[in-house]
Structure formats: C-alpha cells, structure tokens
C-alpha cells in the first residue's frame, strides 16, 4: 500500500462509531434500565476488541505477507487506550461519584477493579510513546521492548472481564480465548525464530 492515508482515515472514522452510537443511545435514553452499566459494558468490550485487533496485526501480517497491515497497528492500539479511558471515566464519574479515595479503595480491595486499572495503566506509556518522535528518541529496540507491555495489558483486561459477573458468560470467555491464541502464537513464533537462530552458526546445509 503506497499511501495508507485514506485507509487510515477510514479506520479513524470507523473506530469512533461505537462511541457515536453510545452517545446517540444516551441522548435518546435508549441505554436500558441501567445506562451506567451498559455504557461501561460497551466501552469495555470495545476496548477489548481493539486490544485483540492490535494483537492480530503482526500474526496476520506474517501469515499473509501483507506488510501494509502494520500501518494500522498504532491507531488500533490508540483506540484500545481511548475506549479504556472512556470506560474508566464513566466508572469514575457515575460509579464512584468522582471520588478519588473511593477509586483507590475499590482498586485495592477488589481484584477485578485492580486488573482493570492495571490493564489501562500498562497501556498509558504505550499511548504516550506512540509518536514517531518518541520511537526515534527511545530507539527501535527499546521502544519495541517497552511495547511488549501490551501483552500484560491484554491479559489484565481479560482477567478483569472474567472476574466481573456472577458467572463467566460467553463474551469474557471469547475474549480470553482470542487473547490466549494470539499470545500463544507469539510464544510459538518466538520459539521457531529461536530455533532458526540457533541453527544458523552450525548450518552445514547452508553451503
């Protein structure tokens, strides 16, 4: 893809659709009996969708050879963070009545809040270092290492979702499975890369 600009614009617009729909439903009072919970649910699951999409970019690129997919990774990641921040803001405003001490107490006392908070905090440095300038300043190797935090963040986000309900419903299970597969791919890919590297020096067949 020579000029990904237009495709990126399409992604930018579409990524905002869940928020627009949420705003529309809120305006028309179509969020059901418990609008706070449904807004939390929409923003939380949308954040998870973007986390999963972000984690899909590299495997998809390697499996298909479509290297242009990597143009979209930054925006997908930023949208994950954006919906995470929206999720936290709704919780802070409507669930904890803007009380910081209440949020701190809730975070320390309840595991699912702790994991949710961890998922978002782990994403914050990634969002902050997402610009080209920051990549240059950190150096590619360091930047790459830092951005592996996304794996921890994804796991924390899934654990957060798994711990919420009375029972574990089908949606948290599906997200957990998706993240597990995408992380397993990386473990497997890393292992194969390791084997290839290990073989290179003694590669007798490479003559």
């Amino acid at each position: 893809m020579k000029d990904p600009g237009f495709a990126k614009f399409v992604l930018l617009v579409n990524g905002a659709v869940p928020l627009a729909m949420l705003g529309w439903d809120a305006y028309w009072k179509e969020l059901g009996a418990n609008p706070v919970n449904s807004s939390l649910h929409v923003t939380g699951t949308t954040a998870l969708v973007f986390i999963v999409l972000t984690l899909m970019v590299t495997p998809a690129r390697k499996l298909t050879g479509w290297n242009w997919l990597s143009h979209f990774r930054r925006m997908l990641g930023l949208y994950a963070f954006f919906y995470g921040v929206a999720h936290l803001s709704i919780y802070f405003a409507f669930d904890q009545s803007f009380s910081l001490p209440a949020v701190v107490r809730d975070t320390l006392e309840h595991r699912y809040i702790f994991f949710g908070m961890a998922a978002l905090l782990l994403m914050a440095p990634l969002a902050a270092t997402s610009t080209n300038g920051m990549i240059k300043r950190l150096g590619a190797a360091k930047w790459k290492r830092l951005h592996r935090l996304v794996y921890l963040s994804a796991v924390a986000a899934v654990v957060h979702y798994l711990l919420i309900g009375k029972l574990v419903g089908p949606k948290p299970k599906a997200f957990a499975a998706a993240v597990a597969i995408l992380l397993a791919y990386r473990v497997a890919a890393g292992r194969f890369a390791g084997i290839r590297k290990a073989r290179l020096p003694t590669g007798s067949s490479a003559a």
């Binding site: 059901g32 009996a33 418990n34 919970n37 409507f94 669930d95 309840h110 699912y112 009375k166 029972l167």
Partner: protein, 270 residues
C-alpha cells in the same frame, strides 16, 4: 462486628414494611432488566426470551413434613388468600436495586393450609424444570432446576410472600410467572421464580448459588452492607432509574426481621 438490630419480635409487626413510600421503579425497567438464567444470562435479553413462555396450566406441589400435603392448581393456590399490594425494595446481589409493587400473599397462609409438623424446620423451593420452555436449561450455566430454601421462621414471616403480579398485572414470565417467592430483606436470588414445588424439611436444603460458589453466596443471603461479596462491595447500590445510594442493613427491614438473627454471626452466616 457490631450490627444494631432488634432482638425481640416487635408486637405490632403485621403491616410494618409492607409498603415503602419510595418512588416505584418503572414497569418497563422491572420487566426488562431481569436475572432469570433459565432464559438468558443477559439481563436485557430475558424479556424477549421469555415472551412466549406459557405458565398455564400450572401446578404447585406442597409436601414434605406436613399433615396435609397437596398439589394445587394455580387458580386454587391463588385463592388461598386475597392478593395484597406489597411495595418492597429489591436489592440484587450485583449491587443494583428497584422498588417493586408486588401483588401476592404471605407464604405463611399457604404453609398453614398444609399444617407443618413440628420437626419441619426449613422450607425448600424448586423452579420448573423444562428445557423446552426454559431454553437455557439446555446449557450448563447452573445446575438445574434452580432450588432455594428458607428457615421456617423466615418462611412464616409476614414479609415473605408468594407473588403472582406486579403493578396489578399478572406476573410477566421474565419476573417469574406464574408464582414466585419474594423475601425483601434478602438478596434477589433468594426470590426463586416459577415455583413448582415446595417442601417442608427438617434439614437445611441445598440452594443453587450456594452450591455453585459457597464462598460467595450463603444460605441466608441477607442484605448486609457490612459484609462484602468477595469480589465487589455491598456497601452501596445503584437504584435503577435513580442513582447510587447506600445499602441498608437487611435492605431497610432490620426492624421487622432483625430479631430472627439475634446472636448470629452474620459474617459467618452470610
């Protein structure tokens, strides 16, 4: 822990707590935000899944340790006592609440009819088991049928009702048609829906949520803002259509029911 509750049975207990003057939750919300896992795990999908549920003909068998066990056709059951309007707070264990105008009568009226024996110390309840009509019973989300239980004094308490209506209308399927239990000082899951069987027993009966997660849901399940759910706080609740408010001891019915738990460690017997 120090919970101030009445330790003796109040003399004028009959009508206390029967009708709260708090604003009633909208009919739409009461009938479209339901925990009824036999239909769906999604509270906002239950109404749609339950739309074609047929609750007639219906029978409720009442037996066990009693002199006159009987199986009641629904119409006969509802004729045991005239339906009264009871406007109760309903506090879900998930930390949301409603104010619901039920139509029903005290369970004690039914139990009196079958004449419990002196060794009947508990009452066990069972929901209909019929995966054709309760489609999510085909899945394994909970062990089916749903079962619940009360101690005899709780079952005989005037606040404990069998409800067959809300807002003067026949009870919608998603709210537990045709007849369900309501115990307003306990978390909502104690209010077993679509009851087909009631049994008097000498031993504490198993209850579904307690069997699934004994560390999270006790047999008593009395609303208690001082004893958190292991995974979330019970100190406050979201009143549907209103907002966050503090949760009250025994859901605000401490004066009426506190005496039944005098001397009990409510942290151990949650």
């Amino acid at each position: 822990m120090d919970i101030a509750v009445a330790t003796t049975r109040p003399a004028t207990q009959s009508a206390a707590g029967f009708v709260t003057d708090e604003p009633r939750t909208d009919f739409q919300d009461i009938t479209h935000y339901n925990n009824f896992y036999e239909f769906s795990l999604d509270k906002e999908s239950v109404a749609e899944m339950a739309a074609r549920f047929i609750s007639r003909p219906w029978q409720v068998s009442v037996g066990g340790l009693c002199r006159k066990p009987a199986t009641f056709d629904l119409d006969d059951l509802l004729r045991i006592a005239p339906a009264e309007e009871r406007v109760y707070r309903m506090r879900c264990v998930e930390a949301w609440s409603m104010v619901i105008p039920w139509d029903g009568f005290s369970l004690s009226k039914l139990l009196d009819r079958v004449q419990p024996l002196s060794d009947a110390r508990y009452v066990a309840f069972q929901t209909l088991l019929d995966p054709k009509r309760l489609p999510n019973q085909n899945g394994g989300d909970l062990p089916w049928p749903y079962v619940e239980g009360l101690r005899m004094d709780e079952a005989m308490h005037p606040l404990t009702i069998l409800a067959s209506g809300i807002y003067g209308k026949q009870l919608p399927a998603q709210d537990g048609a045709p007849v369900r239990l309501v115990t307003p000082w306990k978390y909502g899951f104690k209010g077993i829906k679509s009851i087909v069987k009631i049994e008097l027993r000498s031993q504490q009966p198993p209850t579904t949520w307690n069997a699934v997660a004994p560390n999270e849901y006790g047999f008593y399940a009395n609303v208690n803002p001082q004893v958190d759910h292991p995974r979330w706080s019970q100190a406050a609740e979201r009143r549907i259509g209103v907002g966050i408010r503090p949760t009250l001891m025994f859901n605000g019915y401490a004066d009426e029911v506190g005496w039944m738990y005098a001397g009990m460690d409510l942290r151990a017997n949650f």
